[in-house]
Symmetry: C2
Subunit: 425 residues, 2 copies
């Protein structure tokens, strides 16, 4: 129902829509069908966003269901607590390093101070933490405003959490902030090119008209760069979905920035491994590399398997990027993807098979293909330029893709991510 | 002192020494200077090995120092406890997976059973655990014999550990056993080629005579393949060192095998992520790909920074492969490397900078170079074929190297490992 309102709106909206391809998409831009587009201005489907905002606010009400750690407001407050604790948590780690340094003999310390100025390095990092803390505070402030939560409610929640020994999650905050690099900084360019390339190429080649834009859903969208890139191709009506409140807070923040590269921070100061130089470790990154039009992509927050209960058969394309292995119940993920697609609709996947700590099932690639076929998917031939077939006889291609990598770092971790396209029978 | 005895012995020993290059060394074999070698038989410097064995046995005495978790015998018994617990620990994990599977709905289970036979997969894994447990038991049996420890002492130790809630270390056992693949199975070929290649090439080109073999020390040698490859080049007197009792038990076991590829096991059944097929997950690997002459390389067990107290200036070459970032005190590692080399001796390094959980200092590459120069090393120009210079102005080259990777797995984790050669001033 919600989608139908959006659809009517967007039929009008797309008429004046412009193709916008980011610089790294240049190589495939010639394959995108042309629109008679003259301007970046286009009517925003505000009513849909407003409707979703209303639903979100209702969901966040304390009175909505049981008040426990799974409650959407509880989860949001937990993430706000995490970002609020940025400095405390990271300062504690630097202090741990200072204490570890005391185990070095006096003579060795003299040598370290004269050659690499180790204490100065520790001091500098402590100073740079302030810049990152400014960002974390801004994320919290914007989040409080966006989700209409008072500072006093958050303060109360933090007090309660601390009295119950629930510690702020340093890792999730760090991961959320590192995603600014992956999704919205120049430095993430190569990583995005690797992982978005085959998906965008496939979507760009999909026949579509401005009269009836194709509805695309991206679950597990993180900070939303791919969703916005799909939107930029034109002719798509894009919905993204993310469960992590850490990611959602970061996305709400980055999409509120109106000046390119206006936010500086130091993404690599919290992990001292794999650095060629200390300058690399301490360097500043700015974002967003381009201003985001949040109104052009609809973010629906929540659990992918339940939040789209009323969207059965409403999507032409589902794009899962680094997503399916995040499932506790992988079968439910696959069934949901199938249910949300219209008959003949297409599922495009790229990602690794790295299961979490307590997945209900852990399947090999061949088993995922067999299961997906049973659920009602038909795997399609894909472009050999994507990569080689991983298992003879299966229409799945492997390609090496990095994720959240420090571009100047000395670790080269990557996945042989698996790419496929499957059609709902 | 100990080394001088060895030296006299080996002068004789090397005369009849044969060059043995494993198949993957073929491409560099033409650069190795020729020895007039006709046979693989050569006198073994037994007295040195015997001396070291005596020292080891003395160290392992309970009466040697304080009896706590740092005592060599305590550490050895802990590792024996780990291997003894292989089946219990892994069975517990499979049972956890069985219980997680119960969270899947009845309808989904029906689908999973008909398409991917999930219960059969769990049952098969449980069956294959028995093969791995046979290996773990053999490692324990050989260890008890080699270190002259009675089963009843181990039983008593295990009883005591369990009563004190000290759990067996599943991860260290799994890592130890996976090293059979990295070091001593055909499957590890490519990984060894990547990481050993530049080191062996450099050593093979080093002028040496059969009269005075060069003394090489490899700390952190793991299961010893590189040490034995250096030995196979001829003209080297090789000592390896390893601190991990899990590794040492595995090395003692593998070097006791007299039939190539006679030990089968399933190295990948304990982690279900990143598999293309379930067949890959369950496949059997055999080792050793070649029979090891343990007497040709001397293993000195223990802490690198203390166990070589009497070896100052005794080595011509020190090779550190994936080693320096394992230090708690990196400065002490560098000082020890410097101390053990003779003036003009060479340090050859390849490895990442992945610091552990509580290192006293964490240095960037540029800082390691500066510190090493202060300690008394001069970095040398190296062959551009190794890789590109990592930081302009520093004689350090980066090359992508995997470590402990499943050759058929879908994860492609690698390090941009750093290669350098430095001479002791």
């Amino acid at each position: 129902m919600l989608r139908e309102v959006f659809s009517i709106f967007t039929c009008v909206a797309w008429v004046g829509f412009a193709i916008y391809l980011s610089p790294w998409m240049k190589d495939i831009s010639n394959e995108v069908e042309a629109y008679n587009a003259t301007t970046f201005q286009y009517p925003v489907p505000l009513s849909t966003h407003n409707e979703e905002h209303t639903r979100l606010m209702q969901n966040l009400q304390r009175s909505n269901g049981k008040w426990d750690s799974n409650h959407p407001r509880h989860r949001l407050l937990t993430a706000l607590y995490g970002y609020t604790s940025y400095k405390d948590k990271n300062l504690a780690e630097v202090n741990r390093w200072r204490n570890l340094y005391k185990n070095v003999s006096k003579q060795q310390r003299t040598l370290l101070e004269s050659t690499v100025h180790y204490t100065r390095k520790l001091n500098t990092i402590e100073h740079l933490l302030d810049t990152n803390n400014e960002l974390a505070k801004s994320i919290v402030d914007h989040g409080l405003w966006f989700y209409n939560i008072s500072q006093s409610e958050l303060d109360e929640f933090i007090k309660e959490s601390e009295s119950q020994k629930r510690s702020a999650d340093k890792t999730s905050v760090s991961q959320g902030m590192k995603h600014f690099v992956r999704d919205w900084a120049d430095e993430g360019h190569e990583e995005r090119e690797q992982s978005f390339g085959c998906i965008l190429k496939s979507l760009a080649q999909t026949p579509r008209t401005t009269d009836r834009p194709l509805r695309v859903l991206l679950p597990g969208a993180g900070l939303g760069r791919l969703a916005h890139e799909v939107d930029n191709l034109g002719g798509f009506d894009v919905t993204m979905n993310e469960w992590s409140t850490y990611m959602n807070l970061a996305y709400r923040y980055v999409s509120s920035r109106s000046v390119p590269n206006s936010v500086p921070f130091h993404p690599y100061i919290d992990w001292w491994s794999h650095h060629a130089t200390t300058e690399d470790l301490q360097r500043s990154i700015t974002f967003p590399d381009q201003v985001i039009r949040p109104s052009s992509v609809l973010l629906i927050e929540g659990d992918f398997t339940t939040v789209f209960a009323e969207h059965t058969g409403q999507y032409d394309i589902l794009v899962t990027l680094f997503f399916i292995d995040t499932a506790r119940n992988l079968v439910t993920y696959l069934e949901t993807i199938h249910r949300l697609l219209r008959p003949g609709g297409r599922w495009v996947n790229l990602g690794p098979l790295l299961y979490g700590t307590a997945p209900f099932v852990q399947l090999s690639l061949d088993e995922i293909v067999a299961l997906s076929e049973s659920i009602g998917f038909e795997f399609q031939e894909t472009d050999p330029s994507v990569g080689d077939i991983t298992v003879p006889g299966l229409q799945v291609r492997g390609l090496d893709v990095a994720y959240g990598r420090n571009a100047r770092g000395l670790n080269k971790n990557a996945y042989q991510a698996q790419y496929w396209e499957a059609v709902k029978r």
